[in-house]
Symmetry: C2
Subunit: 392 residues, 2 copies
């Protein structure tokens, strides 16, 4: 096991109706004037935004508002948010939405206190100051409610870049599973795929002997394999929603990643897909991740057999372990298809002829991407090509 | 799933040599004058205390010292610590040791800022203020390094009582698995038993549909079942030590307990044993917990079958599930025996004729103890009696 730090200071406030405590929570964590940041109309239509505002008013917290966050949140809105927050003297960001809204809020929180173009903070400049962030989560997916990370897309050229700092871990996150019950099945499934991908990026490691982290990863994956089909079939199943929502946090606050090297190449390759086509991140992962698995599985057949047997219930073939490993990957893709995810380029709306563009945007040059298996230009091309033609 | 709050703000600093960062960590969390609290001679003999002091001095942190914490830490030393901390103007507690040292430090941290007898805080008065606490952990067991809890024994009458507050969650905890390599096998096994008990107290619940928490519990248990015999056989196995040390934190910061009712009756019944005989808490749990399981298992055969099949690898007997459940309990006791734990009163040094005294001290009266199964006086007597005669 490698040395590590683990720090997840967020207070998670989980369950039915907990969004009505948001005013008190803002007060508890020192906020007096918040920027309420949100996305499209669903938070408005569902009445959630009104409940949040009522709670703020009840606690004497003043606020301003900025809606309009899109999936793959844009730098252009972040600039607007920074200006608004400065003009209004905001002292806390309150994200009401999913990962995109939270990531955009984190960008504003850091940008407000930065004396330059906030995009610097997504281009290598470390974040040293940020306003506190609180969240009211409306979709189980990105894990941003408990993570230090944020991903923003530069509209010019649709360049997607990430940043992170412990300063961006939310002070509190309200997780009410009922808020996710109105989500379309497709978005629910995209979120579930993202959650599982967050675990797999950590599960496939070259660091030996990290049993506890392996087992925690498998705990989240087993939960997702059981609960996701239940909510796709029965969107109002509160308990299944609740299990998925909490699994989404556990998948990404890094308790599933400590003590070991991690991969993240599937996320890297997917970011170019969702950047270019503006498709849902989870859908892109459903296409890329099993393709990546197929390409790299011979690097560590034993670990893929662990996944196959422990997570997908495959019988171990001791005479031919590779067949077990590959059956595990097939079951994963079957699972994804079963919950309504695309599994190849055509189903995603991507085109094989764009592969050179995707590789170019990835900026790999003649180098290699680090990870479970190092990937050069040719490897990336091969993985995209597997994804083009993938089927069950 | 029930509504819950989860809050574990401690920064965990894990791995080889990390105790040398303790001075920086004290500074980071605002300490300038610490009370270094420790137990017997092992922290001195091993040179750990010197390394800790050198790190404090390097960071310009001044300190005073108070050693002598015993297992089942006493109120008498807490009073001394409170006086010392007040006289010296201490602004942070630094616990260097195991659960007893950390619990004693927490008691001092709360007691220093309380205008009365600190024992009030263990008798129902809520803790509203406390100095910050940091820890350098030397044994994987109590989980106090990541928990809000503290248990202190009143020397007069050997009365053991717990308290807790999020204010007592350590600001930072240094976990260096190498520090545990010199522990005697018996202490290592006691610690492992305590860790597993912390999970079982949460695993046996009447709240349905908390898959994610069930699976996280099983992740920790599977890790302990694999790694504990390895360290008993090979005390210098760093990776196995590391997995156990981290599992000990995960077992008790409540990530394994959220969203559900918990039990804690085995801990309650054990506290009277270790209070009366001054035996190790883990050893007492090894005697009590399987006895409790045998007594209550018919209350939810299905859940005991889950334990048996998922944690102890028992084949499910679909025609006779109770036999599967009981085989799981037998395997647990076999595991405990295998790592050198006592499994009945005689092996622990307890006496059947003291059972009335144990029940008296438990203060159950004519009432019932809440939990997975409610226990009255007669139930408690039955469980103690099972523990008297238990064998494989």
């Amino acid at each position: 096991m490698e040395n590590f730090n683990f720090y997840s200071p967020t207070e998670f406030v989980f369950g039915k109706g907990r969004e009505n405590e948001v005013g008190e929570l803002v007060r508890k964590y020192g906020g007096s004037k918040v920027l309420v940041h949100f996305g499209g109309g669903s938070a408005v239509r569902s009445g959630l935004l009104d409940r949040v505002k009522a709670s703020l008013e009840k606690s004497g917290v003043s606020y301003c508002e900025l809606g309009g966050v899109q999936p793959n949140p844009r730098d252009t809105l972040v600039y607007k948010g920074i200006e608004l927050a400065r003009n209004e003297g905001v002292d806390m960001l309150l994200a009401v939405g999913g990962g995109s809204v939270i990531d955009s809020s984190k960008a504003i929180a850091a940008g407000v206190l930065y004396d330059g173009d906030f995009w610097d903070l997504y281009s290598g400049t470390p974040i040293t100051k940020a306003l506190p962030v609180g969240t009211v989560l409306t979709i189980a997916a990105a894990g941003s409610e408990g993570s230090p990370n944020t991903v923003i897309t530069k509209e010019e050229g649709m360049i997607k870049r990430g940043s992170g700092s412990d300063l961006l871990r939310p002070k509190f996150s309200v997780l009410d599973p009922e808020l996710t019950q109105t989500l379309p099945a497709y978005q629910t499934a995209c979120g579930a795929t993202d959650i599982m991908a967050h675990v797999f990026e950590r599960y496939f490691t070259n660091t030996p002997e990290v049993e506890i982290t392996d087992r925690l990863c498998e705990a989240v994956l087993l939960t997702m394999v059981k609960e996701t089909p239940r909510v796709i079939k029965d969107p109002d199943n509160y308990d299944a929603r609740a299990n998925i929502m909490w699994a989404g946090m556990v998948a990404h606050n890094n308790i599933c990643g400590v003590g070991r090297a991690q991969d993240w190449n599937s996320h890297g390759l997917e970011h170019e897909l969702s950047g270019l086509y503006d498709v849902a991140h989870g859908a892109g992962l459903a296409v890329i991740m099993p393709a990546w698995m197929e390409y790299v599985c011979t690097h560590d057949i034993e670990r893929f057999c662990m996944m196959a047997t422990r997570v997908f219930g495959v019988d171990m073939n001791f005479k031919d372990p590779e067949s077990t490993a590959r059956e595990g990957i097939r079951r994963f893709r079957q699972f994804l298809k079963g919950i309504g995810m695309p599994i190849n380029f055509a189903e995603l709306g991507a085109k094989a002829e764009d592969i050179p563009t995707l590789i170019e945007k990835l900026g790999i040059g003649n180098g290699k991407r680090a990870g479970f298996v190092e990937l050069d230009r040719k490897d990336v091309e091969n993985i995209y090509n597997i994804a083009v033609n993938a089927k069950l």
